[in-house]
Amino acid sequence: MTSRILPEFGYVAPETLEEATSALVEFGQNVAILAGGTDLLSQMKVGERTTKVVVDLNRVSGLDYISFDDGVLKIGALATIRQLERSKTVQSKFPILSEAARKHSFVQIRNMATVVGNLCNASPCADMAPPLLVLIAAVKLISTEGERIVPLDQFFVAPQQTVMKPDEIMVEVQIKEPQPGTEASFFKIGRVQTDLSKVNGAVKIVIDRDGTCRDAAIALGSVAPTPIRIPSAEKELIGAKIHEDVIDKVSSIVAADISPITDVRSTEQYRRMVSKVLVRRSLLRIWRGRLRS
């Protein structure tokens, strides 16, 4: 209702995933899932979101895992961004995720917000989206009917809209360990240090011994209705011999192929310009680091 008072809602706290998915079926369209609460409760307070029933996942045990088996990182529904930041496995094998987690919001929010929640909220400026997109992540959705895996680059539809059906719950994010020689970097720019991003993004690149790019992925947030990959820029990179000119060209393609808007945080022109700068800087840093070693 206001930032002081939440609107009323029915509250259900299932103890198993089965109960949770059944609750979604029972309560139909007007249901929201509560995990960390930092998005849902704040949106309910300011009137950006209304719901009749809240299904609190926090009583379901065993959902807060970050595990690595058989070359796949699995992040459970209730694993927080802080857990991601602190995980030694993630730091060593998926350092871009640690970097993105560290730059997300601030400590209290990171202690509460979940990785899965960040994706399900589907804000165009979700910080977890670009790094997970370049790592070619997939998400597991379950319902009373069964489960399905959706590649993350097919997940986002529009601001706050995803392919998830009203009766589905995201229970896991799956990321395959990147191939050896992968370098990846996350960037974010806001009005102050602690801010929603004007632009955020990630680059991932695999550079051969001879300096050729074998694989690349570039994802940006806050510059389109959803977080997006930039295939045109990636195409330019893959197979090319990495050089400042190539990096410049790739960054320019990124700037041309995004559709930023002017809003309270920034302008279309600035976002376009700074996307180019940040992509270029990330690629240059990776490339120069490579040259040194």
Binding site: M1, S3, I5, V192, Q193, D195, V277
Partner: protein, 774 residues
């Protein structure tokens, strides 16, 4: 340890004042034992909520409160028809605000109706059940647009949207410009900054069956608040008691009677129960006063050597939908001008203009912060064009002690020159300039500030105080000032302890409560250290006299020969003859005489009211003035336009630092507001007049990672009229930090942004333009 530089006379070593003693309210605040209005809970209390206008400008066609009244738990619903015909305002005759809108709403947030219910949730639900039919009107959000013929009229019955204007010429602008070797013109704008106090506004009121009103209000001005309430309600002041609460930040935003205060009282009267209102954060951004956005047009004539020959300032203040303290702020702006420099010819045209935006009121260095941003940016641009060092041009123009400005402000004590030199050296200015690190820049700005402002409530600027010596010899200072966190209580305790000659630990301070403390206008206009401090000092001296009289008899020593120091009263020429202060106090009150010890003191300084033509007889609206200089170092990312504050050094002429740590804290806090004004803050509205940043999500306040290290130098000029020479420090740092940062940005990357906030978007756009011009 803070850096203190005493430039006039030797620094006297005192026992208590001048020392960095721990704050008197420190332990209570770290253990959360203080009570804010948010914490006030009374038996049978109701919660109130206000329904606010969703339109920037609209007729109210119809209000239907029936559904709200019928909601279980609702005890009262009010609209304009249910409350007395009261008009609010700060400055006579601009009483233009009805607590609940009568026929028209004038900004998004304007109060329309109010509900009292058994809990906050019910009150909130009830406001949503009130049906209001509006007929939207064209709105105007820009003061220059609002001044034009045919602009939407914010207040009907007036000819235009100009609340008032001041026009004056001191000396001859034309002559001055002729004498000048160069004339420069520039335009600047500043945003609508919100105080964003961490404690949102609130009020608890009780009205008993005999119409006695008790109020707990989050206010900087408890006694003035009571006086104004009595005036608006047309009842004697004795029917109103304002109770003490600690205030979670004020910065000028809690220095008037608001509509919600009256609404709370009316609801308390109607229901016969205590009523509480607490603002939500989104309500706080719209429903409280703001810093006036100002459009400046400056024209300055300078001689070849950079000295100023003439100054013209046009300033258009956006006071929002209601006048509030607009008229006073305009006066502050023109009084300031660039008059911390020697200016022989000064002309100004100053306007206070209505728009359909939130209300402009007082905000830390009101008018002064905006004026300083404009004038000090302008002066830097002039220095650049003339090829004169920006530090040098300021030193050449700086006023000195004993001078009086054109407008009548007399600089009884002035350490401006020393402040400039100290700020510059503290930041290693010349070394860093020589190093010329890429994308780094240094900027300097200086300014000045009043210590009090006669005219805030009429022809007085008084504070009074009691100092009570208890039967056990401990001391209680009773001051009508507030507890808003500035360190006021601590300073008053130190002053009383020093004057009485007792231990700081034995002094307690009672503030705010209008039943027990004597009248004090309150903590506004940088007045408290000087004026309330003098009142407390006088009251302590009065109490001391009473104690010494008895001690003279007890010790068999001449009164004039007695001294009270460090808890002991002794004969100056025979120190062996001594008694503990406490012993004497107990004797007077319990053992020997049975007489209470109560010192009283007051201070109404020798400041003057503004003349009709907005000049003053010296010393001016304030008995003395503070000065300061601030140097800033920034780094600007040339591609993204991001500005990083690296370091700031501020030298403030505070007269004498009663508590150097507290003074430093005021400097550091002041800089935070100035930096916000310059880089990130400002209320934003879309073309439909709808607010775009009512939450911290998009109203960006700097946090610990954004703020730089700050070096503070307290320059002591030992003012002849201030208590122990103290003047006060708190506001000019906000003002000086604005242009210091703007000037540093220019020094770093060569672009000048004239419209605060200076965002990366504006920097990048300016750099592009500059590149294309080449």
């Amino acid at each position: 340890m803070s850096e203190v530089l005493t430039i006039t006379k030797e620094r006297k070593e005192y026992s208590v004042v001048g020392k960095e003693l721990p704050r008197i309210d420190g332990i209570d605040k770290v253990t959360a034992r203080v009570q804010y209005v948010h914490d006030v809970r009374l038996p049978n209390m109701l919660w109130a909520k206000i329904l606010r206008s969703p339109h920037a400008h609209a007729w109210i066609k119809r209000i239907d409160t029936r559904k709200a009244e019928q909601l279980p738990g609702v005890k009262a619903v009010m609209t304009a028809n249910d409350i007395p015909n009261v008009m609010l305002g700060t400055t006579h005759p601009f009483l233009d605000k009805a607590p609940l809108a009568r026929d028209k709403v004038r900004y998004v947030g304007d109060e329309v109706a109010a509900v009292a219910a058994i809990n906050e949730e019910t009150a909130e639900k009830a406001t949503k059940l009130i049906e209001v039919e509006y007929e939207p009107l064209p709105h105007v959000l820009d003061p220059e647009e609002a001044m034009k013929q045919g602009a939407p009229l914010v207040h009907d019955g007036l000819n235009n949207n100009i609340v008032l204007s001041y026009h004056n010429e001191l000396g001859s602008l034309e002559q001055g410009l002729k004498e000048a070797d160069y004339v420069f013109e520039e335009r600047f704008t500043t945003p609508q900054q919100a105080h964003a106090c961490m404690e949102t506004h609130g009020c608890v009121a009780i009205c008993d069956k005999e119409d006695n009103i008790t109020v707990w209000a989050s206010t900087q001005i408890p006694h003035t608040f009571r006086m104004l309430l009595a005036k608006f309600l047309k009842i004697p002041q004795s029917k109103i008691a304002v109770k003490k609460v600690s205030v979670g930040g004020g910065f000028g935003g809690k220095s008037e009677v608001y509509s919600y205060d009256l609404i709370c009282i009316f609801l308390a009267k109607k229901t016969g129960r205590p009523v509480k209102i607490i603002f939500s954060r989104e309500e706080e951004f719209l429903g409280t006063t703001t810093r006036h956005p100002i459009v400046f047009e400056l024209k300055t004539g300078v001689r070849k050597d950079g000295t100023i020959a003439a100054s013209y300032i046009k300033s258009i203040h956006d006071t929002g939908a209601y006048a509030s303290q607009g008229p006073g702020v305009v006066l502050c702006t023109v009084m300031k001008g660039g008059l911390h420099y020697r200016i022989p010819n000064y002309k100004y045209d100053s306007y206070c203009v209505y728009t359909n935006r939130p209300i402009g009121g007082a905000y830390r260095a009101p008018g002064g912060a905006q004026m300083t941003f404009a004038f000090e940016s302008h002066l830097d641009m002039i220095a650049k064009k003339l090829g004169i060092d920006p530090v040098e041009i300021r030193l050449r123009n700086a006023v000195r002690q004993g001078e009086t400005s054109l407008i009548g402000t007399k600089f009884v004590s002035c350490g401006l020159t020393e402040c400039i030199e100290k700020a510059v050296s503290a930041i290693d200015w010349y070394k860093k300039k020589a190093e010329k690190r890429a994308n780094r820049g240094l900027g300097i700005a200086c300014t000045w500030m009043e210590c009090g402002f006669r005219g805030f409530i009429g022809d007085t600027d008084m504070s009074s105080a009691f100092v009570k010596v208890q039967a056990d010899g401990s001391v209680e200072v009773l001051t009508g000032g507030p507890d808003i966190g500035t360190g006021f209580q601590t300073a008053m305790a130190q002053i009383a302890a020093e004057e009485l000659g007792v231990d700081y630990k034995d002094v307690r301070v009672t503030t705010s409560d209008t039943d027990s403390t004597p009248f004090d206008i309150g903590e506004v206009g940088n007045r408290s250290t000087f004026i309330s401090g003098n009142a407390v000092k006088a009251a302590a001296a009065d109490a001391k006299k009473q104690v010494l009289h008895a001690a003279a008899n007890l010790l068999g020593c001449d009164l004039l020969n007695l001294e009270s120091r460090n808890g002991k009263i002794l004969c100056k020429d025979n120190p062996e003859k001594s008694m503990a202060f406490k012993e004497v106090a107990t004797y007077i009150q319990l053992v020997g005489m049975g007489v209470p010890i109560m010192g009283k003191g007051y201070c109404d300084p020798d400041s003057t009211m503004a003349n009709e033509n907005c000049t003053w007889e010296p010393p001016g609206p304030s008995p003395t003035y503070s000065f300061g200089a601030l140097a800033a170092e920034v780094e600007v990312d040339p591609e993204t336009g991001e500005v990083h504050l690296i370091e700031m050094a501020c030298a403030s002429d505070c007269g004498f630092a009663i508590n150097p740590a507290a003074a430093e804290g005021q400097i550091e806090g002041g800089i935070h507001h100035g930096a916000g004004l310059t880089l990130t803050e400002g209320l934003l509205f879309d073309d439909a007049g709808q607010p775009m940043n009512q939450y911290f999500t998009d109203y960006k306040v700097l946090d610990a990672a954004d703020m730089p290290r700050i070096k503070s130098i307290l320059v002591e000029t030992i003012d002849p009229k201030g208590p122990f020479g103290a003047k006060g420090v708190s506001q000019l740092e906000t003002a000086a930090s604005t242009a210091a940062i703007a000037n540093a940005i220019y020094d770093a990357i060569g672009v000048r942004i004239r419209d605060a906030p200076i965002t990366p978007e504006k920097i990048v756009e300016a750099m592009d333009r500059k590149r294309n011009e080449k």
